[in-house]
């Protein structure tokens, strides 16, 4: 039978998810009363009828009394973001009151007895309206613009002047949520200390935001996650406002409080990427050498710039040149607030939008130059990696990114073979793109929201703690303060440790979940494809450290230098002692065998340092990915059927191919859903139109049957990481939007400028 711990739990129905955990005695179920208007002044929130009906309820004012401070923002603007509306409501779905009852059915019933009077204000429903500023989401700002940043690398003006050809390509990417199938869930007890169990995607900044909002020292906050999380894709980063809501409700009621988000609520108000529009300008020589690129992005982050927003713009800071050797780059970013739900992390965090803009512009340039789109890409591909840092070769981008040396030409050659073979019949189109996939976020990039000289502190969190113990019977236990959302982390860690110690994976117990009672870092969690490059490197470092301690113990049995060979320590005379003997000696007789067989390591790469001006190495890994799509487009309706999709990439060592394949297939189809169907649309009055799977047009397997997907993994050596593996968790979604748009444009003989394509 295959070794797949999470899969085994899933087929046996033994997964342990948040909604499956028992409620502590006396638990009350919370239901949230939400704003039904997009923008308005709160005249009155009255819960007395709920109380009359025997329920417990708290208004926004009741709840805010226990919230000591608004959440800290990444932007230096006077926006106050609280877990409930204060003074005004700013989007449909914003919490206004909570109701508590012994039973979830009853809690929902009691919501009907909440009375709210809201004086409606004209809503700001899109970015262009926001810029006009006729209505203001936050009056105290005097504008709806919460950030403007202009950045320049190289001599952009001159470079554009010297170009023979300049093309400008406009684009729009719609608000989209990766929408994990499991909704948010929280169980909170807030007595002397705050004890939270939630399906967060890591302790990371959750604990920080919660402690700040409640005015608690970190020592009084404990956050835990269940063993299994039903998908996240970034969406479960935005749980912290709800954690604070349950905490306050628990404090006020003196009871444990449980909240389970409904699917409708998840559509309304969980997390999504921003509506983004703008343009890209590319300047090139007549023979297709791209000399300069300019980005102009207008980002609609919804009602509040919820941290880490506007990070979606800066996540790609180190790779603004994509796969190309372009040194002159300009970026002009405007972030506005509107009366829509706040945005946040969403699979690929900023990358799908960014590469949609860049890679469709490259096709536009190819058309202008009369060049084949792939040929143009080949002419601009990075070829030399001559920057040596800490002994390893990199290509240093104009914006501070360090691309490790990889065989880009090989990936493109394989892509070209597929490209030549692709069927081109009537009504069909072929599209390509080449992206550089960033992995392992350096949270320092969030600082770019502020001009360099105005930054008060330096930031570079990106590391992870790993704790490893050898148990008395020779089995091993690993603890990582992170989360298991279906990427097979337990399985892979067990296999890595088993290989390192030459034991069967069944001898390794992996706990891969959040518990802030154990060591954790501000960067701990599952996001930005950090597992393979960073966590597994940490695991290997922990194995090394434990082996060193074991070697000391082994010397009590052996003589001279000892080496670890196939599960045993061996000395020069060939005598050996095995793991089990050493484990047993230490645990049963520490007097004779003193030591410590638990190690905790903190792994952090020195390649990730704080931003310097507008330059930052925003990610630890950058890997090349070539995409190809073949589509068939109905000539009348323009409905798109994807016939074939190819991804060729190099993420270094493949840790477990079946899991990598699965993640990539999923990412291709999530990209397809975003490119062709799914969109969180609002009507012109600011009312959300999508609260069901029907309206979201979520694909089922019907869209995938008959579609051929080919994945090719090149396994180039990655020496600067102990794991030898670059990140792959976010996967192909970064390139799918652009590739499908290029293919559909090819079929229609006109350019597609927006996703979803309709």
């Amino acid at each position: 039978m295959v070794h797949y711990l999470e899969g085994l739990r899933a087929v046996k129905g033994e997964g342990e998810y948040i909604h499956d955990l028992p409620s502590p005695p006396g638990t009350l179920y919370m239901a949230i009363y939400r704003s039904y208007v997009p923008h308005g002044r709160i005249k009155r929130v009255d819960v007395s009828d709920v109380v009359r009906k025997g329920g417990i309820a708290y208004t926004n004012e009741d709840l805010l009394k226990l919230v000591k401070a608004p959440f800290p923002l990444a932007l230096p603007v006077k926006v106050e973001y609280y877990p409930v509306a204060k003074g005004k409501v700013r989007f449909v779905g914003e919490p206004l009151a909570v109701v508590l009852a012994e039973d979830p059915y009853r809690a929902v019933d009691l919501l009907e007895y909440v009375n709210a009077e809201i004086e409606e204000l004209p809503p700001v429903t899109n970015a262009q309206e926001a810029l006009k500023g006729k209505a203001l989401v936050h009056e105290e700002l005097g504008t709806n613009v919460v950030m403007r940043r202009h950045m320049e690398f190289g001599d952009v003006e001159r470079a554009f002047k010297d170009c023979d050809v300049v093309v400008r390509k406009d684009f729009k990417v719609a608000k989209h949520s990766a929408l994990p199938l499991e909704t948010y869930g929280i169980i909170t007890r807030f007595g002397e200390e705050l004890d939270v169990i939630a399906n967060v995607q890591g302790p990371m900044l959750q604990a920080y935001y919660v402690a700040k909002a409640l005015g608690l020292p970190e020592s009084k906050v404990r956050i835990r996650s269940p063993r299994d999380i039903g998908g996240s894709f970034g969406v479960k980063y935005s749980l912290y406002p709800y954690i604070v809501l349950t905490a306050v409700a628990s404090k006020l009621s003196g009871r444990p409080v449980r909240w389970t988000e409904s699917r409708t609520e998840s559509f309304l108000a969980s997390s999504s990427n921003a509506d983004r529009e703008g343009y890209v300008e590319l300047g090139s020589t007549r023979d297709g050498r791209i000399r300069a690129v300019k980005y102009n992005f207008l980002e609609d982050v919804g009602a509040y710039p919820r941290p880490p927003e506007p990070g979606a713009l800066f996540r790609v800071q180190g790779n603004l040149n994509g796969a190309y050797d372009v040194r002159n780059i300009e970026a002009e970013y405007t972030v506005v607030v509107t009366n829509k739900s706040p945005t946040g992390l969403n699979r690929g965090y900023g990358s799908p939008q960014f590469y949609f803009a860049l890679e469709t512009a490259v096709d536009e340039l190819a058309k202008e130059l009369g060049l084949d789109p792939l040929e143009l890409r080949k002419r601009n591909l990075i070829t030399s990696f001559d920057k040596v840092v800490q002994g390893y070769p990199f290509y240093e981008t104009a914006t501070g990114g360090l691309y490790p040396k990889q065989d880009y030409a090989k990936v493109v050659q394989l892509l070209e073979e597929e490209y030549k073979r692709a069927r081109r019949e009537e009504g069909m189109g072929v599209g390509v793109s080449i992206v550089i996939e960033p992995s392992v976020t350096n949270l320092g990039y969030v600082d770019l929201a502020v001009e360099g000289e105005k930054r008060r502190h330096k930031h570079s969190p990106s590391g992870e703690y790993v704790t490893l113990s050898l148990n008395y019977d020779g089995s091993l236990s690993v603890f990582v303060n992170s989360t298991n959302e279906g990427l097979g982390h337990e399985t892979v860690v067990a296999e890595v440790v088993a290989r390192e110690f030459h034991v069967d994976p069944s001898q390794v117990k992996v706990e891969y979940k959040v518990d802030t009672s154990h060591p954790w870092a501000l960067s701990s969690g599952s996001y930005s494809s950090r597992f393979a490059p960073l966590v597994v490197s940490g695991v290997i470092k922990a194995c090394d450290a434990l082996k060193e301690r074991l070697a000391d113990l082994a010397k009590r049995y052996l003589e001279g230098e000892v080496k670890f060979v196939e599960g045993k320590f061996v000395d020069e005379k060939g005598r050996s002692v095995d793991l089990k003997t050493l484990a047993s000696s230490f645990h049963w007789d520490p007097y004779s065998f003193p030591g410590n067989l638990t190690v905790t390591v903190f792994y952090h790469s020195d390649l990730l340092y704080p931003a310097n001006g507008d330059k930052v190495n925003s990610s630890l890994g950058y890997s090349i990915q070539g995409h190809l799509a073949v589509v068939k487009v109905d000539p009348l309706t323009h409905d798109v059927k994807v016939k074939r999709y190819v991804v060729i990439h190099d993420v270094g060592k493949v840790l477990k191919e079946e899991l990598l394949d699965g993640v990539m297939y999923g990412s291709v189809i999530q990209g397809l859903a975003e490119a062709l169907y799914e969109r969180l649309e609002y009507d012109p009055n600011g009312n959300p139109l999508v609260t069901t799977f029907d309206a979201y047009e979520t694909p089922t397997l019907a869209e995938v049957v008959g579609m051929e997907i080919t994945l090719k993994h090149l396994e180039g050596e990655v020496k600067f990481l102990p794991s030898g593996a670059l990140g792959a968790g976010e996967g192909p979604i970064m390139g799918v939007l652009a590739t499908l748009a290029n293919a559909v444009s090819d079929a229609l003989k006109r350019r597609v400028n927006q996703v979803p394509m309709r």
Binding site: M1, V2, E6, G7, L8, A10, V11, K12, E14, G15, H19, D20, Y33, R34, Y36, Y105, V108, D109, L111, E112, P180, L181, E182, G230, G231, F233, S262, R263, T264, L268, G486, L487, D634, L636, T637, H638, E658, D661, G662, Y665, G666, V668, I669, Q670, L689, T691, T692, F693, D694, A695, Y696, T698, P699, T700, L701, E703, V704, V705, I709, R758
Partner: protein, 466 residues
């Protein structure tokens, strides 16, 4: 207030006879419950509030397909899967079979009924355009019995001529030798159809002598047109000619714009479907006859609470429940947490279990409806310690990531392979297994279903550990 997936309280009753049911409907403020696959989601989304439900599922009078004097009479309680696969209907009315087969997914078709569907009169219903082109009539019972043309029965969106105390008893079709076509389009697989087109044509020597075309989904009420393409030879008719013929007809249609598309797009889709429906003869699904049995065999008087007895994985569980308690919650509260809740609209299928051996979305039935019935989860399909064929196929295909949808997928796959298509052919798969997975992109799930199918056929043993 926003939907949170829990219906409001109501009185539930389960009469033993039609007479009793009609009395209850006449007296109280109750509405009839047939399959409930549209009604229950609307109650959960609190779009609809009902004071009482009269469950019709024990009324044998409303079951069956009968041939009477050149007519075929379809009982209101025939499920969509029964309509799709019934031998008589397949032979006489292939477009009706085809339209039933493309409703939602296997689970919804197992419970949803033709009577319930037409009484609901959803503008994007699969049935209405087809029944219009077949000149269907509806038999309505109340104080007496009346018969009405379907076109008159459907008054508008979700509105029919049914009066309080009345029920749809039968749908009646006349046997006539006609060529029929059916075509439907939806965007992402979870969405309702954008347009539904049906056509019926009488031909002489390949030339259309009379015809009827109906288009649903794009307007408040499906529209129908007589004599479409009359005089044309069907063999030679070109796509352009069909499009030219349809253009003036569509000008009159008041198109509803919604999240799925604007007027222009919907009209284009409708035209595309008209071409398909004219060119391709409607084909019933390539599967054997299916039968579903939901009779509880235990009368219950109207009450907001009932004592129920449900056999779950072989063990009888008894308890008093609110009538509105969904089966998914009933099961989860009793420790069957492998059954998941993933949406409020009865779409995602994460809550799928077997009821009497058939896949059913447990969020789309009330616990009281499972009274006296057998519910099975994956744990009930395994004997002993090992894994069964489905579990093995899913595990070895790496057909999961977060695992949240896995149980529902295994349950619907079980019904699909067991009762629909052991070969798991593409053409049946896409209309049956339509649960939502957000992680895998379905690729490895499709592989798992094929692996399970192969093992099932090669070894022939699928129950218990093999």
């Amino acid at each position: 207030m926003f939907a949170l997936g829990f219906p409001k309280a109501f009185r539930y009753s389960r009469p033993e006879s039609l007479e009793e049911a009609l009395e209850e409907l006449e007296e109280g403020e109750a509405v009839p419950l047939a399959g409930g696959q549209s009604l229950i989601p609307m109650m959960k989304l609190r779009v609809l509030e009902v004071k009482g439900l009269v469950d019709l599922n024990d009324l044998e009078e409303l079951r069956g397909v009968r041939e009477v004097e050149g007519e075929v009479r379809i009982g209101a309680l025939e499920t969509h899967n029964e309509v799709a696969t019934n031998q008589t209907l397949r032979r006489e009315f292939p477009s009706l079979s085809a339209s039933a087969w493309e409703i939602a997914d296997l689970q919804v078709r197992n419970r949803g009924t033709i009577g319930g569907s037409i009484a609901n009169a959803d503008p994007s219903s699969n049935y209405l355009p087809v029944l219009m082109t077949l000149d269907a009539e509806v038999v309505i019972v109340g104080k007496g019995e009346r018969r009405e043309r379907l076109e008159e029965f459907v008054r508008g969106p979700y509105t029919t001529s049914l009066r309080r105390g009345e029920l749809v008893k039968e749908v009646v079709l006349r046997k006539e030798n006609r060529r029929t076509g059916f075509a439907l389009a939806r965007r992402g697989g979870s969405s309702y159809p954008i347009a539904v087109v049906a056509v019926s044509m009488s031909l002489e020597d390949g030339v259309v002598t009379s015809s009827k075309l109906a288009i649903g989904g794009i307007s408040e009420r499906p529209v129908s047109f007589k004599d479409f393409l009359v005089g044309k030879g069907l063999g030679e008719v070109k796509e352009e000619e069909v499009l030219k013929a349809i253009d003036p007809l569509l000008e009159e249609v008041g198109v509803i714009e919604d999240v799925h598309g604007g007027k222009e797009y919907k009209l284009k889709v409708a035209k595309r479907l008209v071409v398909e429906a004219v060119k391709e003869v409607a084909r019933p699904p390539p599967v054997k006859e299916m039968e579903t049995h939901w009779r509880n065999g235990r009368r219950l008087g109207p009450s907001t609470r009932h004592v129920v007895k449900v056999k779950v994985n072989g063990t009888w569980l008894e308890g008093e429940v609110e009538s509105r308690k969904l089966l998914v919650d009933f099961l989860r509260e009793r420790g069957f947490t492998e059954v998941k809740r993933g949406c409020d609209e009865g779409k995602c299928g994460a809550c799928t279990v077997l009821v009497n051996g058939r896949a059913v979305k447990s969020c789309n039935v009330f616990a009281v409806q499972a009274d006296n019935q057998e519910v099975t989860t994956i744990r009930g399909l395994v004997k002993g310690e090992g894994l069964n064929y489905l579990q093995r196929a899913f595990l070895e295909s790496y057909a999961m990531q977060c695992g949240f949808c896995t149980h529902g997928f295994m349950m619907v796959t079980h019904d699909y392979l067991d009762n629909v298509d052991p070969e798991a052919k593409d053409e049946t798969l896409v209309h049956c297994v339509k649960n939502v997975c957000r992680c895998t992109g379905y690729v490895q799930i499709i592989k798992a279903i094929r692996t399970a199918s192969r093992e099932l056929r090669e070894k022939g043993v699928h129950y218990g550990v093999t």
